[in-house]
Amino acid sequence: MKKVITEGPISPVKIGDSISHHQVKTDIGAHSIFLGQVRADEIDGKKVSAIDYSCYEEMAEKIFHEIRESAFEKFELTCMHIYHSKGIVKAGEICLFVFTSSRHRKMAIDACTWIVEEIKVKVPVFGKEIFDDETHQWKVNH
């Protein structure tokens, strides 16, 4: 089973490399990419400087796998990659990378959107928002 969870932020170089690896797959006509970035929210005068992600890793990987299998069933995809960070990801850095490829744009775009929504709701990942004064609060997806 392919691992989704990766330590620390996802580097833009890795994202670029991932795109170039697909240049040999010439049956692909459309890619769709979603990148989740840590936002420096301001709450009660304090700014979020990073999110420390933790997860129930065995269950999270299992659910990522189920989402992946369902996406291949629901959409005509050529390939799909998902990476999610654990550990510290600073504001402005990337914490989620979803990459879907298909013959045509609609399938790639729809699949990418569907996968992101599924991840938000189903995967046991927890985020500790760390403020610039080193206090913290726990993030909740809406």
Partner: protein, 78 residues
């Protein structure tokens, strides 16, 4: 039977532990949860879901063998 109990995120912060092992004869998830809340009252007003052996479970589900029960705070992936 032995149940391994896992706490994550803000719940682990409340219980000050991420893992405990509990010997029990209790057979439903809900009854087992009640016993855990007695032990860790700080969890009583918290929002969480429960997973038994990595699958989300309802309170009326049966625990018929040793396994792992995880207390999962609200998800924040992505």
């Amino acid at each position: 039977m032995k149940i391994t109990v896992l706490f994550f995120g803000m719940l682990a912060e409340q219980t000050k532990t991420s893992k405990v092992e509990v010997e029990t004869n209790v057979v439903s998830v809900g009854d087992f949860e009640k016993a855990i809340l007695e032990e860790y009252p700080a969890l009583k007003d918290k929002t969480y879901s429960l997973a038994f052996n990595e699958n989300l479970v309802a309170r009326d589900a049966k625990i018929d063998a040793a396994g792992t029960l995880a207390f999962l705070p609200p998800f924040a992936g992505g």
